[in-house]
């Protein structure tokens, strides 16, 4: 077991979808996806693991229990798939709200809400805006306790263009980016 010389670390191949070592994919929640991704990234390994000749090695379970387990696993995976689908749909439906809030007659701030569902780092986004537009930009919590980026200055159009850009980069082309303007700052913020 143990060598006296320095032991080289073992290289484990991790699945790119579920992050488990590939042999555990079948117990993961996204087995089907794991399989397809492995097939494209590492066809040799895929062949050795999932081809018909390589059937489960020496399971001690009775056939009945094995079947039961596979069934429950399949159920779980199906559930997870549905859940993901639903989430994706939700994501497509959600929209980003860019709000122009008038401070005085000629001054306005822009607040961006509804970004958190896309996994955008708000803090760094505020920073990029601050340097991009050379204004103050910060992350604040709105009435619904959700983060939003507030930028000083009337930069709504530029923000919209920028946001659609980064969202498209993430593969969410259909997301609506909406601009509204608001006269009184105390109006309730609406995030959908």
């Amino acid at each position: 077991m143990s060598e006296i010389e320095t032991v080289q670390p073992v290289k484990v191949i991790y699945c790119q979808v579920c992050t488990f070592p590939v042999e555990y994919c079948e117990f993961g929640k996204l087995f089907k996806k794991c399989k397809t991704s492995l097939e494209s990234t590492n066809p040799e390994l895929y062949e050795s693991m999932y081809s018909d000749s390589a059937k489960p090695q020496g399971s001690s379970l009775s056939a009945e229990r094995e079947a039961k387990m596979t069934e429950s696993l399949a159920k779980m995976q199906l559930k997870e798939e549905r859940k993901l689908e639903r989430e994706m749909e939700e994501l497509q439906k959600s929209k980003v709200l860019i709000k122009r809030i008038q401070r005085t007659k000629h001054k306005a701030v822009i607040s961006i809400a509804g970004l958190e569902v896309f996994g955008v780092d708000m803090k760094s986004l505020a920073k990029t805006f601050a340097s991009k537009f050379a204004t103050g930009a910060s992350v604040t919590k709105n009435a619904e306790k959700k983060d939003e980026v507030v930028i000083q200055g009337d930069v709504g159009d530029e923000v919209e263009a920028y946001l659609t850009g980064i969202l498209a980069e993430k593969g969410m082309v259909n997301v609506k980016v909406e601009q509204v303007s608001e006269k009184k700052p105390k109006k309730k913020a609406s995030t959908t």
């Binding site: 143990s2 010389e5 579920c18 992050t19 070592p21 993961g28 001690s60």
Partner: protein, 179 residues
Amino acid sequence: MFKKFTKDDIHTRSNVKSSIQRALKSKLVAQYPKLESTIDDILPKKSQLVLYKCEDKIQLYLIDNEVVFFQQFDELIPSLTLVHKYPDAFPSVQVDRGAIKFVLSGANIMCPGLTSAGAKLPEEPLEKETTVTIYAEGKQHAMAVGKLLMSTDEIKSVNKGIGIELFHHLGDGLWMYHE
């Protein structure tokens, strides 16, 4: 332990002093003697160890943003990535195929899963409270890390109830944690 673990659970991050790092190193070797030959690869002398103090007094030790090991009380527990790299360095047990599903959802390991046909307990008896890595039937790599609640002899004789308390498993909060 890491069923739910997110960035919010990290309270402070700090760099570990090199003197303390040395002490940790010797402690790690004392706990897992087989690590001795590779300890310099795991904790290189010049590396900067980072300590994350988290919820429930859990402390994570990271190098290059990768959790190497963690501790809750006194015991140092290797993370699964470390176990995968140096599988022979830690005491291990094996569970049968039927148990994999439950272990991967974070269940403690029951004795029957350790004594049945597909399972393996190490030949030399392990004491109670030993930190063990958990392997699965037909699989090559470790899938969890836990602590023996009974000695292996007891597990064999009693064969009932919880045998291993699970700390860390594939797919838990710590496994999923990435900066």
